[in-house]
Symmetry: C2
Subunit: 98 residues, 2 copies
């Protein structure tokens, strides 16, 4: 049985002027996740406006909720401090066009 991949969407509140610090931390977290079982892809977005509610939004695909949860429980990921508010959740695509 194959399942549709699940999508992690994580919206980050990063104050103006903190982009470089955030990007460095995000890259270390992404590097720790990339080698984990079930990882498929990731795409980090930065807002055109510096004062958007969510300056950065990450959209990543994983094979299953279980693989994502196992990967984010691993020490390599948990050691990266992320001192910004963020809103992660797992999603499935329910409407698609184009």
């Amino acid at each position: 049985m194959t399942q549709q991949p699940i999508v992690l969407i994580n919206a980050f509140e990063v104050p103006d002027g903190q982009d470089d610090d955030f990007l460095d931390r995000w890259q270390r977290a992404a590097d720790a996740l990339r080698s984990q079982p079930g990882y498929l892809s990731t795409r980090l977005h930065r807002s055109l406006a510096p004062d958007a509610d969510f300056r950065f939004v990450n959209v990543a695909r994983w094979e299953s909720p279980e693989s994502f949860r196992a990967a984010t429980s691993a020490p390599g990921f948990r050691q990266v401090a992320m001192p910004y508010r963020f809103h992660p959740a797992l999603y499935r695509v329910v409407r698609e066009d184009g």
Copy 2:
């Protein structure tokens, strides 16, 4: 000169039990946008957890910020009432893997 498409990401706060009402409104808004110049694609995500901060997140691609702003100023789109809090912003992809 060709430009990388821009990405609209819109995170919606939809209370538990309101999915059907939201989906109906979202679909009408999407139908109004689809025929506008510069529209490329859209993908609506629903959270696995009913109580996620953002129950729905829309990720759409447009040719330019100007085409998106013109489309969302058109009457067909503006006539769809959306009585939920939402957080839209325009983005570009800054990191990509996989």
